[in-house]
């Protein structure tokens, strides 16, 4: 089975109203090329589940989003994501604001086909108060109440990985895979972009298979896009583009998203985008973050 396809083909599977999970974390290893491709479509009314960064901000700014399920949306070194902020302050999107760990439990419940996982997380806070859909239940084994974190079932997951073969075996060798394995498992259809398309034999060597964090049956499409996480990082290939993020952040105050879009997203392909930001070589030279 050859799962390799173009970004257009892969993202073409996304329909209005779907629930989309986006891998990565804040400004780290976000499938931004797939997000850019999604912005080129007519799709709208998406529910987006994300440890959010510019993926969420851009999709909000592009009018693709009906609802965001989030614990944070942040660019880390720029704490507040400008366009998510704008969308919230305009009241233009619905939200389900939860805890980072609740999101993990919701993804796991979906992956394991459970209706929910009970947890103390969220009790006593506005997570419960602001989300009446989250049920607080009794346990058959004690006298406490528990929040029943519902499964976050995803129609589509978008993930950017280091390497994949055409059969959908995906490798992440960076220091953290974040929750990407759970996004892949929680989704009906997982679309992966990769830095490198490799032969299957790559994984047979040494400990390479140890860095394959989900089975190929959990991946339905493979889109080779070197540099596809830009402006987020893809450690160890490249760091995040602080200069670009700063410009992106400033754009919200100076002209808004149309200006950013005109400068960087007016082309029809990822190649156009990469040319606008200085080319793949420049992306690959972005220094890794040191925390």
């Amino acid at each position: 089975m050859n799962k390799v396809m173009s970004a257009q083909q892969a993202v073409g599977q996304i329909e209005s109203g779907m629930t989309i999970g986006v891998g990565g974390w804040g400004p780290r290893r976000k499938p931004m090329a797939l997000v850019r491709e999604l912005m080129r479509t007519d799709v709208k009314d998406l529910t987006v589940v994300s440890y959010g960064g510019a993926d969420v901000g851009m999709l909000c700014a592009a009018g693709k989003v009906r609802k965001v399920i989030f614990a944070f949306v942040s660019l880390d070194f720029i704490p507040l994501e400008p366009y998510f902020r704008e969308a919230r302050q305009n009241g233009s999107i619905d939200v389900m604001e939860i805890d980072e760990g609740l999101m993990l439990l919701g993804l796991r419940a979906a992956a394991w086909r459970l209706p929910y996982i009970p947890t103390a997380v969220g009790l006593g806070t506005d997570v419960v108060k602001n989300n009446p859909d989250l049920k607080v239940i009794d346990s058959p084994y004690d006298d406490k109440e528990w929040l029943a974190m519902p499964a976050l079932n995803l129609d589509i997951a978008l993930i950017h990985v280091d390497r994949a073969d055409e059969r959908g075996v995906c490798q992440i060798k960076g220091p953290d895979l974040y929750m990407d394995d759970w996004f892949a498992r929680a989704a009906q259809n997982t679309i992966v972009s990769c830095e490198e398309l490799v032969d299957t034999a790559h994984f047979h060597q040494g400990d390479e298979a140890r860095y394959v964090h989900w089975e190929r049956a959990q991946t339905q499409a493979v889109v080779p896009i070197p540099g596809g996480a830009h402006p987020s990082s893809c450690n160890p290939f490249y760091g995040f583009d602080t200069k670009h993020f700063k410009e992106y952040n400033v754009s919200a105050k100076e002209g808004g998203f149309d200006g950013y879009r005109a400068k960087y997203l007016s082309g029809t392909t990822e190649q156009d985008y990469q040319q606008a930001v200085g080319g793949l070589d420049a992306i690959r030279k972005l220094p890794l973050p040191v925390y």
Partner: protein, 267 residues
């Protein structure tokens, strides 16, 4: 070696005061969010609680804390366990963690807010980060607060605009819980050190930084706090502490964290 010295910055005083929060924690993961809390945790691990655990703020547990400045890569760090984000929650939910965080709002119950200000849930006036891990942290393990600018904007008069962490609020207490199940520890500000062990878990004053008065604290706090009869002065950093801090922050990034880098002793 351990004698106190006269010249130290307010940032260094706050780091040393904040390090005390971890003294009796034993073998827990200390997470200091922000440069000064991270330096506080690092200082504690290097001096008063060697059993403590810290991460590289990325994906590894360290046997020895990384300096916060002066490094160009993670190569060669003393990593001892992989600790990606998903594993962090195994630790959080085990309870073996103490986080020191800097909330935007703190109310009389010790509830905090980093999510949004004003407006409504559907349309806040100011959207901030989101609740992040605050709900889970607050009900799972110890938490302390680090406040660089003690003011009524932080220590708010009413309940937080968005309650991101559980506190000592009887009205929000979940079924089966008692207030003593909540574990909020220290509050370190640019004016003083406090904890939540006043009557009925009131915020209480523990020490005043040199040159700060009780009145200054009260004026800048939006709710009533408990002031014991005798309030000592926050202990000045020792020579050893300052040396360790300097090793942990060779480029002196700590000097840029507080506006105008005030001296620790403002008498």
């Amino acid at each position: 070696m351990n004698q106190t010295v006269q010249e130290y910055s307010l940032a260094e005083l706050m780091i040393c005061a904040a390090a005390e929060a971890f003294r009796h924690d034993g073998e827990i993961l200390a997470t200091g969010i922000g440069l000064l809390p991270r330096l506080a945790a690092s200082l504690a691990m290097k001096t008063i609680n060697p059993d403590m655990m810290m991460t590289d703020s990325e994906s590894y547990m360290l046997s020895d804390p990384n300096p916060v400045s002066g490094r160009t890569s993670h190569e060669g760090q003393a990593q001892e366990s992989w600790m990606g984000f998903s594993r962090i929650f195994d630790n959080v939910w085990s309870g073996k963690r103490h986080a020191m965080v800097g909330p935007s709002q703190i109310d009389r119950y010790g509830q905090t807010n980093i999510s949004a200000l004003g407006g409504s849930y559907q349309q806040p006036k100011v959207q901030m980060l989101g609740a992040r891990g605050f709900p889970g942290n607050s009900i799972s393990h110890a938490n302390s607060f680090f406040v660089p600018a003690h003011s009524k904007r932080v220590f708010v008069q009413d309940e937080c605009d968005v309650v991101c962490s559980i506190g000592y609020n009887p009205e929000r207490l979940p079924k089966g819980y008692s207030l003593d199940d909540i574990d909020i520890r220290m509050v370190i500000t640019d004016l003083c050190v406090m904890d939540w062990n006043g009557p009925n878990h009131m915020l209480q004053l523990l020490s005043l930084h040199p040159g700060v008065t009780v009145e200054q604290v009260l004026e800048n706090t939006g709710f009533e706090i408990y002031v014991p009869t005798d309030v000592p002065v926050t202990a000045a950093p020792t020579q050893q502490q300052l040396q360790t801090i300097a090793q942990l922050d060779p480029l002196n990034w700590r000097s840029k964290q507080l506006k105008d880098n005030p001296p620790g002793d403002r008498r």
